[in-house]
């Protein structure tokens, strides 16, 4: 019972410490004697008097200390005392204060008994051990030091990009493990079919093959065609099925991972943020990044915050202005926006047409000089990358004319760029699919994905070392020249780099079916990208003017990643379906695990048929349309329950807020009443409290 009270008391302490100075009568109330003795005031008043004796200072300790004091007082009365279980380091006081608090606790522990104290020290040891292990483990995480430096010089926003990059690396490593388990492992252990020739580098193979994905690579385990049906040939355990299971597992796991990351961040920012907007308060109270050490970074941070605040105020007055617009202005603005949107649309269409033409051109199979044929082979990736490099910047310029607020401008640019990136990839995939009627269509498709990856990486590499670095050198050596003034200082444009990452991850996902080693290649590429971008950010960039908050931007990153995943899954599903059609017509030679008239559909069919009849009927029911109805119903029920729970919680939040207001006004009223009573009576209480007050130093100024 005692302990229960204690806990409640401490909760109250932290929940409602209120104090007001707004009205003239409240000014009066907080000068009264009783005010200083309110627990909430003592909880927030800094405790700085260690020299005075404990009996006096104890009454003026910080929050949790009050709980201590009570139990201490009870100690003299009787043995039925429970010590506060809060760890000492959680107390808001100086070390000496904690030491004294601990001394008092020691007494209590000895009264509790040997067993209890042993248990407690053991639990402390355990916790310390765990903490130590956690510390070592987090030290083992790759790139911790680099992230620290980047965070110190560029703040949380840029770090979020690198953390996102690291997350992608982890995910690809996981994919690699799955590939090894499901696809590579069985193939190495059970071999391939007898017809396949041994793998060796030679003949007409050249170094160029590593860029084009032809010749040697075409025969290597990199591509789909390598994985022919081996000796492992049970009805429900064979290489084609394992292959399929591996790919499905990869997609499923990625979906879970990405959705989880998105929702975790989403809960933090938007769901609460919209309803209980705390934007400005965040900017002020959590604005400073205490990890910054570099004076230059500090000046930058100052300008970040200043710009951010000005931006906010500007947006506020913008929305005011927006509300006051006349009808004529509205119409003109609407016209302007539609014209600009048309322009954006036509740019997009032009870009897609360009991609289409380049795909057609690279399909042209006449003999050329090797450099020309290399360029022709790489024409579609080059076009896509160029389009993706140039158009987002044009979109950025266009959106500045549209008279949107600044945030809206950035968002509009981002949405258009995402659309461009993913759609151009989709169009490219579609056309390369349509044109592919070669010996092994899957290999060809995988080769395209491989080329896209390699080229994207090469483009990153070149833009870092051949574009950004010389630009930076130019800035340094000839700061007053026309060119360097024209180019301006380089900024690390996080959204564009993130778009890049999302794009390449989408390519990995699309390609993983046709090119199973793509996750491995992807891991290597992403690691390379990490070092390249680290170089870019640390050596070539000044921090950008607009600040990106770590949390909200990472939600956006993961959401884009989710879009990429959905798009990859759709493409793959469409491709497989398409393949079924073409296989029926026997238009192309089969290759890979699904040779000899086997498709993924009849392989699973054989497996299902070999199962006992009960399992068969269950599986067939699960796959049929009849199952969709109960599934949808169940989903609806679950969703409804979550939504209603969320509403209930919101109501509870509202009620708690009201209670907070009420209790604080109650307190003000009571204190006022008490003071007037005290003044009227002038009783001995006053003398005593004055005596206590003498021991206490005046509150610090």
């Amino acid at each position: 019972m005692e302990e229960h009270n204690n806990v409640n008391f401490m909760r109250l302490l932290s929940d409602e410490s209120n104090r007001s100075t707004v009205s003239s009568d409240s000014c009066e109330y907080y000068q009264t004697e009783i005010f200083d003795q309110l627990p909430s005031i003592q909880a927030i008043r800094p405790e700085q008097d260690r020299q005075c004796c404990w009996e006096a200072s104890e009454a003026y300790q910080g929050g949790p200390e009050m709980g201590e004091r009570i139990s201490h007082g009870q100690l003299s009365r009787g043995p039925k005392v429970k010590a506060s279980t809060q760890p000492l380091k959680n107390m808001v006081m100086c070390i000496q204060g904690k030491r004294d608090a601990r001394d008092r606790r020691k007494m209590q522990i000895s009264s509790i008994g040997f067993w209890e104290s042993w248990r407690r020290s053991q639990s402390i040891n355990w916790k310390r051990g765990w903490a130590q292990m956690g510390g070592t483990l987090s030290g083992l995480l790759p790139w911790q030091r680099s992230l620290h430096t980047i965070e110190g010089r560029f703040g949380v926003g840029v770090k979020a990009y690198f953390v996102f990059l690291r997350y992608l690396v982890y995910m690809n490593i996981l994919h690699c493990a799955l590939i090894c388990g499901f696809i590579l492992g069985p193939t190495t252990f059970y071999g391939r079919s007898n017809s396949s020739e041994p793998l060796k580098f030679g003949g007409s193979d050249s170094f160029l093959d590593f860029f084009l994905g032809t010749g040697y690579l075409d025969r290597s385990p990199v591509f789909f065609g390598f994985y022919t049906r081996g000796s492992l040939d049970l009805p429900c355990l064979n290489t084609p099925l394992l292959y399929l299971a591996g790919i499905l597992t990869i997609f499923f796991l990625s979906l879970i991972l990405v959705v989880r990351r998105t929702t975790v961040g989403y809960k933090h920012t938007w769901m609460l943020g919209k309803r209980y907007s705390m934007n400005v308060s965040y900017k002020i109270f959590c604005g400073w990044d205490f990890t910054i050490q570099d004076p230059a970074a500090a000046t930058l941070k100052h300008s970040f915050i200043r710009n951010d605040l000005k931006l906010f105020l500007e947006e506020q007055s913008f929305s005011l202005r927006d509300a006051q617009r006349t009808l004529g202005q509205r119409v003109r603005l609407f016209l302007l926006r539609s014209v600009l949107n048309l322009l954006v649309l036509s740019l997009l269409v032009g870009a897609f047409a360009l991609i289409y033409i380049s795909t057609k051109k690279s399909d042209d199979k006449s003999k050329h000089y090797w450099l020309v044929s290399l360029v022709l082979e790489y024409l579609p990736p080059i076009t896509i990358t160029l389009v993706n490099l140039v158009l987002p910047h044009i979109f950025r310029k266009i959106s500045s004319f549209e008279d949107y607020s600044f945030t809206m401008q950035v968002n509009a640019t981002l949405v258009r760029s995402i659309f461009l990136k993913l759609a151009s990839l989709g169009i490219y995939l579609f056309f390369s699919l349509k044109t592919g009627h070669q010996q092994c269509g899957e290999n060809m498709f995988g080769r395209e994905m491989y080329k896209l990856c390699i080229f994207n990486f090469l483009a990153n590499f070149c833009s870092a070392f051949l574009l950004n670095y010389p630009r930076k050198l130019l800035q340094e050596w000839y700061p007053s020249s026309l060119l360097s003034r024209l180019l301006g200082k380089q900024r690390f444009l996080i959204p564009f780099y993130v778009l890049d990452l999302v794009y390449s991850q989408t390519v990995f996902w699309v390609g993983v079916y046709y090119c199973p080693l793509l996750p491995l290649i992807g891991t290597v590429i992403l690691m390379g990208t990490f070092y390249i971008q680290k170089f870019t950010v640390l050596w070539c960039c000044v921090a950008e003017q607009r600040m990106f908050r770590g949390s909200s931007s990472s939600v956006l990153f993961h959401f884009m990643l989710l879009l990429g995943l959905i798009m990859a899954a759709t493409t793959l599903g469409f491709n497989l379906y398409h393949q079924k059609d073409t296989n029926d017509q026997n238009m192309r030679l089969p290759c890979g695990p699904f040779g000899n008239g086997k498709t993924m559909f009849n392989v699973t069919e054989t497996c299902v048929n070999s199962l006992p009849s009960l399992a068969q009927t269950t599986l067939r029911y699960l796959a049929s349309e009849a199952f969709a109805l109960p599934l949808i119903l169940a989903e609806i029920i679950i969703l409804t329950s979550y939504v209603s729970r969320g509403r209930a919680n919101q109501k509870a939040i509202e009620r708690l807020k009201d209670m907070l207001v009420m209790s604080s006004s109650d307190k003000r009223f009571l204190v006022k009443q008490h003071t007037t009573m005290l003044r009227h009576q002038r009783n001995p209480h006053r003398v005593r409290s004055a005596a206590i007050e003498e021991d206490v130093p005046p509150p610090p100024l």
Binding site: Q96, R306, L309, F312, L701
Partner: protein, 189 residues
């Protein structure tokens, strides 16, 4: 208590580990860095106070606009001169460490932002806070109108009981919703 003797005793070290959020390595590193701030004579003494000016030469604090407030809040000096003993220094590092709880961090943040030490953030405190954030010089400051608009906004959002100031619980209410706070309210040696 041989607090600033050249070597930290084993008992003291484990005591500090119990009382702060710091690990053994961090405490040893803190001790090393703190001893470097001492002059030769001071190293002989125990419980030396290092004046604020010398503390502020640490690179971790040098470019922080709240450095004086930080020293002031963590100082146990009677003269309120912001000088720190080694234990005060450990308190500081503990509150700013990775493993300190949100409760602790927000509490100290509140005290750092409470410029007049009256236990609540009023308009004056908020104005000083904003000036610290944007930079103190005349051209970096916000204009008077902007400042008024901004503070009105802050109070409208955070001052739940509408008494014209932000108190500790209202402050913690805001902070607890910000996932960025714990990661940015951090000083690691």
């Amino acid at each position: 208590m041989g607090t600033t003797a050249s070597q930290l005793g084993k008992d003291l070290l484990s005591e500090y580990q119990e009382l702060t959020f710091l690990t053994k390595q961090e405490i040893l590193l803190a001790h090393k860095r703190f001893t470097e701030l001492l002059t030769k004579d001071e190293k002989e003494l125990q419980n030396t106070r290092v004046p604020t000016e010398r503390i502020l030469t640490l690179p971790e604090l040098k470019s922080n606009p709240f450095r004086k407030r930080i020293c002031h809040v963590f100082s146990t000096s009677e003269q309120k001169d912001g000088s720190l003993t080694f234990e005060d220094f450990l308190d500081l590092l503990s509150a700013f460490s990775d493993s300190a709880t949100l409760e602790i961090k927000s509490h100290y943040a509140f005290r750092i932002f409470d410029f007049d030490d009256d236990g609540t953030l009023d308009r004056g405190d908020l104005e000083k806070l904003v000036n610290c954030l944007t930079g103190e010089t005349d051209e970096t400051r916000l204009t008077r109108d902007e400042m008024r608009q901004l503070i009105d906004n802050i109070l409208e959002e955070s001052d739940i009981d509408k008494d014209g100031t932000v108190n500790l619980s209202e402050f913690q209410h805001v902070i607890s919703r910000s996932p960025d706070f714990v990661s940015s309210f951090k000083i690691v040696l």
